[in-house]
């Protein structure tokens, strides 16, 4: 396999492993844009595995070891808002190893 082919294969597999949901709410879309453009570079070097609750309208974000702690901090500051939760460095905040029917 040539270097060019290997590089193409690596790029393809990276894209596949990082795929996002087909349907996203405006809240998730805005929050993920903020995460990808700003928070990822800021948080991933030091906070892998922690949770960040994002309030995309203000750009505020709240990092904690536990999901409830991150969301609670966010709610303390923005009592009337909804938040998007990210597990830093992971493609989803939680995972299910057994089949479970989930939808928005």
């Amino acid at each position: 396999m040539s270097t060019k082919q290997r590089r193409r294969q690596a790029t393809t597999s990276t894209k596949k492993s990082a795929r996002k949901p087909r349907k996203m709410s405006p809240l998730a879309r805005k929050a993920m844009r903020l995460y990808e453009t700003k928070l990822k570079a800021l948080l991933e070097p030091t906070c892998i595995g922690k949770f960040v609750a994002i309030e995309p309208d203000s750009g505020d974000y709240f990092v904690a070891d536990r999901m409830s702690a991150a969301m609670r901090q966010a709610r303390l500051k923005h009592s009337d808002k909804k938040f998007f939760l990210v597990r830093i460095g992971f493609k989803a905040a939680v995972s299910f190893k057994n089949p479970v029917p989930l939808s928005l």
Binding site: M67, S95, F96, P99
Partner: protein
């Protein structure tokens, strides 16, 4: 409120471990103890609506088939080892509720189907372990 050090559940006829968890409002939830789910609690949508659990936002969930879906997050309060604890509850289309490994932290969990034992024992110090 009395500090309970042990929470005891049971096994069903399909070899699934269960734990009865009480909400701060008094309702009792029958949850399947799911070591394959690393969140806190999952509940059926109609039950979340009936209980009036406040909406807190959304998150991505990675499913067993490798797909990622966006799921609603609600706020709930459960009685956990005798103390009220705020948890995040995800909505499911299934009729079963799940208790995930985020809530295992700080406990020793014994699962022994032969002895019909599902036991959560509170550890003296709070331990927080997260896979990197």
């Amino acid at each position: 409120m009395k500090r309970t050090q042990r929470l005891q559940g049971w096994w069903d006829s399909e070899l699934s471990p269960h734990l009865a968890v009480v909400l701060a409002t008094g309702e009792e939830l029958d949850l399947i103890v799911d070591s394959g789910f690393n969140g806190e609690v999952v509940l059926p949508k109609p039950l979340i609506t009936r209980l009036g659990l406040p909406d807190d936002g959304t998150m991505f969930s990675l499913l067993a088939d490798g797909s990622v879906v966006e799921t609603e997050v609600h706020i709930g309060e459960i009685v956990w080892f005798g103390q009220t604890r705020e948890v995040r509850i995800q909505a499911t289309d299934s009729h079963e509720g799940l208790l995930g490994t985020e809530l295992f932290q700080g406990s020793v969990v014994e699962l022994d189907p032969d002895a019909n034992r599902v036991l959560f024992r509170k550890k003296p110090g709070r331990a927080l372990k997260r896979a990197k």
